[in-house]
């Protein structure tokens, strides 16, 4: 109760605000956060190591499960990296199809984020509203790929599933639906006073800091760094479509780099994705969808490669990198994944400093962390670690006590 008592609170790895395990240690004085640090590694499964024991086709599905949310971006980056190493030119139709899948994913991911952000603010009506809207794109994804979440449509040298003429009307219907829904979303999110109160000027990240800490994706763009792999670095069909990186000033005329800005950027990107899909459908070229439809042959070809490849992809959360090396073997020789959250995680420390305890969840959520692939670091200062241990000690004590009780219970 004493305002001046400093105390350290650890949030996560099991915490209702975080569906994923991450541990954030905040040193608070009263409700004010004096310092913050985080520790990861709770989701580290050793995927890159697994990759060295599997063939590239198996790895596509492994890459898909680096994260269930960006399960186009990871396999896409992986495929492009392999194609880069093996010098494979993907058919144009496949590139357009990849773009459509990737943008569908971005829509679902950004809607997911908006819902989650509202949920962090306790605004469950918006969560429900947005996730209901989101079902539409999931339906379309399921319709096109055979599953709502894991799409499993990418293949080295192209895509596994074509989009037939018959399927296009459903996509168009979805586009129309979202155009309407988008207006509504803007109204709800931008005009709500409680949301503004909770997100405006909260968790500010300056442009300078964003650059220094190598932030990527919407997090960087919300701070005014006009960086978007789709705009900067040609892959798939994006360069044809002239994508432009979105910063919040497009809508508001100013950039503050706060949580609200990050919401705006994602909101605008939903609209951008809709437009990109529309264009892709219109300009979809005819032709094959795979460079090598016979997979056995593909595997044999890949076995002969002795080269390294690297790929950049703009995942919903930002720039994603896969680097790999192949050396005359069915398995990979080296594989490195750099997920966007890996780069963005640092930014939460300056964002959290001097915020309030109540802001922590929304700030952390505002970079839309997806730690599945970012699980890498511990940055904890000494003091916090000690405090953490204390809490831990208490927890252990508690557990022992409960164990005793349980034993008693069993005897009865």
């Amino acid at each position: 109760m004493n305002k001046s008592k400093k105390c350290s609170i650890s949030i996560g790895p099991i915490h209702p605000a975080l569906k994923e395990p991450i541990q954030i240690e905040v040193l608070v004085e009263g409700e004010r956060v004096k310092d913050a640090s985080f520790s990861l590694g709770h989701v580290h499964r050793g995927i890159e190591w697994m990759g060295l024991r599997r063939n590239p086709i198996q790895i596509i599905y492994l890459a898909e499960r680096v994260c269930g949310i960006c399960n186009i971006s990871h396999p896409l980056a992986f495929c492009i990296a392999v194609e880069n190493a093996a010098n494979i030119r993907v058919p144009e139709r496949a590139e357009y199809l990849r773009t459509i899948y990737a943008e569908l994913e971005r829509i679902h991911s950004h809607l997911l984020f908006l819902g989650v952000a509202a949920h962090e603010l306790g605004f469950d009506s918006i969560l429900h509203y947005i996730w209901l809207i989101r079902e539409k794109v999931l339906d379309v994804i399921e319709y096109l790929t055979g599953n709502r979440i894991t799409k499993a449509v990418l293949m080295i040298g192209g895509v596994r599933r074509d989009i037939s003429k018959k399927q296009i009307p459903k996509i168009k219907e979805m586009l129309a639906y979202y155009k309407k829904a988008y207006e509504k979303l803007c109204e709800i999110l931008l005009d709500d006073p409680t949301i503004k109160l909770r997100t405006r000027d909260i968790g500010v990240l300056s442009k300078e800091e964003a650059l220094k800490l190598c932030a990527v994706g919407p997090t960087a763009r919300a701070s005014g760094v006009k960086k978007d792999t789709r705009q900067d670095f040609p892959y798939a069909a994006y360069a044809d479509l002239d994508v432009e990186a979105i910063t919040p000033d497009v809508l508001l005329g100013e950039i503050r780099g706060d949580v609200f800005d990050r919401i705006i950027v994602r909101l605008l990107e939903i609209k951008q994705s809709l437009e990109l899909i529309e264009k892709c459908i219109k300009e979809l070229p005819e032709g094959p969808t795979l460079y090598e439809p016979v997979l056995q042959k593909l595997l044999v070809d890949l076995k002969k490669v002795d080269n390294e490849g690297i790929a950049l992809v703009e995942a919903p959360r930002g720039e994603l990198i896969h680097y790999l090396r192949m050396q005359n073997s069915e398995t990979l020789f080296a594989w490195k994944i750099r997920a966007p959250t890996y780069a963005n995680m640092h930014t939460i420390v300056p964002m959290l400093k001097d915020s309030e305890l109540a802001d922590v969840p929304i700030i952390v959520a505002s970079i839309d962390p997806c730690l599945s692939c970012a699980n890498r670091a511990v940055l904890a200062d000494k003091e916090a670690i000690i405090a953490q241990e204390k809490i831990h000690e208490l927890c252990v004590k508690k557990t022992l006590k409960i164990k005793e009780r349980l034993k008693r219970w069993e005897h009865v």
């Binding site: 050793g46 069909a237 490195k336």
Partner: protein, 175 residues
């Protein structure tokens, strides 16, 4: 600035410091837009200089990540930068390769120049067992029970000996 222009400049500035300079271009889309990947090797000693020089080409060279490969005799560290970003379609993906002898794999930190490299460097230290001078101490993110194991190593320090198969519950044979 155009990507080609930047690559020229890059070559000029770094001419003395780099070797094995390669430009790989790929084509994408109907318009055959080109993507530029640049590869170069840097000696361990000059790495820091080179990174500093990058700042003359780009206000904040974006450090994406570093990769690490155990090639047998050496440990290769690859630093991936993106330059000329925010210029539509003209970004250059630069990779600097540093070879560290496996016997004494030591390099210097670049976190003083680019604070965002912290996680990357800690990761390299922990996954490859290299030493990075000037980097804040502290075990990164693997569980303490894994001390002494460097999962990316392909020798006996690697992770094979502790890995297991979840389906069967068996240990994985030495590969």
């Amino acid at each position: 600035m155009q990507a080609t222009e930047l690559i020229e400049k890059l070559k000029e500035t770094l001419a003395k410091d780099i070797s094995d300079f390669r430009i790989v271009t790929t084509e994408h889309g109907l318009k055959k837009n080109r993507a530029y990947r640049v590869w170069a090797e840097v000696s361990n000693k000059k790495l820091k200089d080179v990174v500093k020089k990058l700042f003359s080409l780009q206000e904040y060279p974006h450090f994406s990540v570093s990769s690490g490969v155990d090639t047998g005799q050496n440990i290769e560290i690859l630093l991936h930068f993106t330059l000329n970003y925010a210029a539509p379609k003209e970004q250059v993906l630069l990779t600097l390769r540093v070879k560290l002898p496996k016997k004494r794999p030591v390099m210097e930190t670049i976190t003083d120049l680019i604070p965002g490299a912290l996680i990357s460097e800690k990761e390299k230290r922990e996954f490859l067992g290299i030493e990075i001078k000037g980097l804040a101490p502290g075990r990164a993110f693997l569980d303490d029970s894994l001390a002494g194991v460097f999962p990316w190593r392909k020798d006996k320090k690697g992770a094979n000996k502790i890995a297991k198969n979840l389906h069967t519950g068996e240990r994985i044979e030495q590969k």
